[in-house]
Amino acid sequence: MIRTRPRLDLTRATAGTLALAVLAVLLGMGALFFWQSVPVWKSEGIGGFLTGKQWFYRHERYGLWTMLFGTGAVALIAMLVAVPLGLGAAIFTSEFLSPKTRLVVKALVELLAGVPSVVYGLLGVLLLRNWIYEGLDLRTGDTLLTGGILLGIMVLPTVMTLCDDALQAVPARFRRAARGLGLTRQETILHAVLPQARSAILASILLGFGRATGETIAVFLVIGRQDNRSPDFSALVSPGQTLTSKLGGSELNIAYGDSLHWGAMMGVASVLLLISILVTVGGRRLLRRP
């Protein structure tokens, strides 16, 4: 018998369907958030929603500004903790340790990168919060600063292991050439290895920043979750709110059913989604750069 039509490739059909399902979930998620948030964009306007300083849902006033400030401040503080320590530690493991020791340290660090965020949150609640409260003599230990430091410790293993990968990716010939020119080990690292790894290191930092902006649980537990703090310097040592701590709160349950309030919550989610997409795409661009 001569088969005229190509036989249906079951494997291909199954694999293709599964792959499409994954893509559909991703696109569906994005579409869902933006569609659901339409009421708030209509009511407040795009600029009004993003720069509005007030969030009073009982008075139907929805503004993101203080949450954007909170998220930005917390993530920046986290980077101030994680980047110097993480990059420094990565330079040490990548350039000064023997390959075997490096692997052991790296394995431990990667293990630690998996510590659940709720455990960090618990340590933040029971230890860090008190240290900040007593050490800085504040009215409360639930502050943006507490959240930032906790997040910094949390993303430290990620930043460290990614920076280490970035340094390892620099070909050995650069090191050999620099050493051959009579540069010391330190000069080799500073003038040959680091410049070569620059965009990959920046990508690592950006990905760490992305993790810090998206982290919910640990921040939620120590941030104080107070709306409408005016974004100034003193707000850093006061309770505040981030995009994620807003979404993680019970306000989500209250909002469901009220189309404007729900729209506002979905607006928060949309902005968070957009930030994380920008960070991921930016990180990949940087990594691709030669």
Binding site: D9, A15, G16, L18, A19, A21, V22, V25, L26, M29, L32, G86, G88, A89, I91, F92, F96, L103, L108, E110, L112, G114, V115, P116, V118, V119, G121, L122, L123, V125, L126, L127, I153, L156, P157, M160, G182, T184, R185, Q186, E187, I189, L190, G210, G214, E215, T216, I217, L221, T244, L247, G248, L252, L272, L273, S276, I277, V279, T280, R284
Partner: protein, 286 residues
């Protein structure tokens, strides 16, 4: 020539970065240590096998442990075929380089999304629209989407290491693409699926945000019996709730105990994945 002066000044980078590494390692070790010393004392056989009493003041965590296992098992069963299908499509069937690239980017995007967003989608679509209420299956589905990129990335990494020569030989023998998939690619790259699963499960087991609105409650649930309105207790959610009012010293012991069990579970799973990961790395570098 390295002059003595040059040698002296060339030390500072070593010491500074060494101090950074030491500080980082000490800080992280301190985290494990502080959970361990507070929590390990509470853990005994009864703690692991008894149900919770008086809102966490007495009794054990058997339902929390069970609930977490139910959630991650469900998630793994859903995520595994999706990840395998995605990886095979991307590496075997997708012929256009740009499309391959786009699929890779999609997985990275999914990986970078904050976990709370998955929780909210699950809440809206499954809990509210589908009318399931809080349910173990809703939580399992949400966690599946979350662990999907982890499994896919590990699988694709492994697929790319299957020797070209073997694939060409198989093609030369006249194997079709689907035969290639079942007899060469899947057996060779299955270790990627295993590593990815271990890491994905480890990550999902510790996640709180995705199950906050979809699956977990604090008390009143035992084992799920059905689909709708059948929430579970879970380890991370238990820690999360108790951490919010952790002032009761009586509850603190059990709180740390629960945290230690959770941490131990996650560390154990990640540690299992470690040798496989390192083997992949060595393969890459050689």
């Amino acid at each position: 020539m390295i002059t003595p002066r040059k040698r002296a000044t060339s030390q500072w980078l070593f010491w500074i970065t060494g101090a950074c590494a030491l500080m980082a390692v000490l800080m992280l070790a301190g985290i494990l240590f502080s959970v361990a010393i507070r929590g390990l004392g509470t853990i005994d056989w009864a703690f692991l096998t008894e149900p919770m009493k008086r809102g966490g003041l007495e009794g054990g965590i058997v339902h929390h442990l069970g609930g977490t296992l139910i959630l991650v098992t469900t998630a793994l069963l859903i995520a595994l075929p999706l990840a395998a299908g995605f990886g095979i499509t991307q590496e075997l069937y997708c012929r256009r380089e740009s499309l391959k690239e786009a699929m890779g980017t999609a997985i990275y995007l999914l990986n970078g999304l904050p976990s709370i967003l998955f929780g909210i989608v699950g809440y809206l679509v499954l809990v509210k629209w589908a009318g399931w209420g809080k349910s173990w299956l809703a939580g399992g589905i949400v966690l599946a989407v979350m662990m999907l990129p982890t499994i896919t990335v590990a699988f694709v990494e492994r697929l790319r290491q299957v020797p070209r020569a073997q694939i060409q030989a198989a093609r030369g023998l006249g194997l079709s693409r689907s035969q290639l998939c079942w007899s060469i690619l899947l057996p060779q790259a299955s270790s990627g699926l295993i590593t990815g699963s271990l890491l994905g499960v480890a990550r999902a087991a510790g996640e709180t945000a995705p199950i906050l609105f979809t699956a977990a409650i604090f008390s009143g649930a035992t084992w799920p019996d059905g689909l709708r309105e059948s929430p579970v207790l879970s380890l991370p959610y238990h820690v999360f709730v108790l951490a919010q009012d952790a002032l009761d010293p009586e509850a603190q012991d059990r709180l740390w105990g629960t945290a230690a069990v959770l941490l131990g579970l996650v560390m154990f799973l990640s540690a299992l994945a470690l040798p496989l990961r390192l083997r992949i790395r060595r393969h890459e570098t050689s």
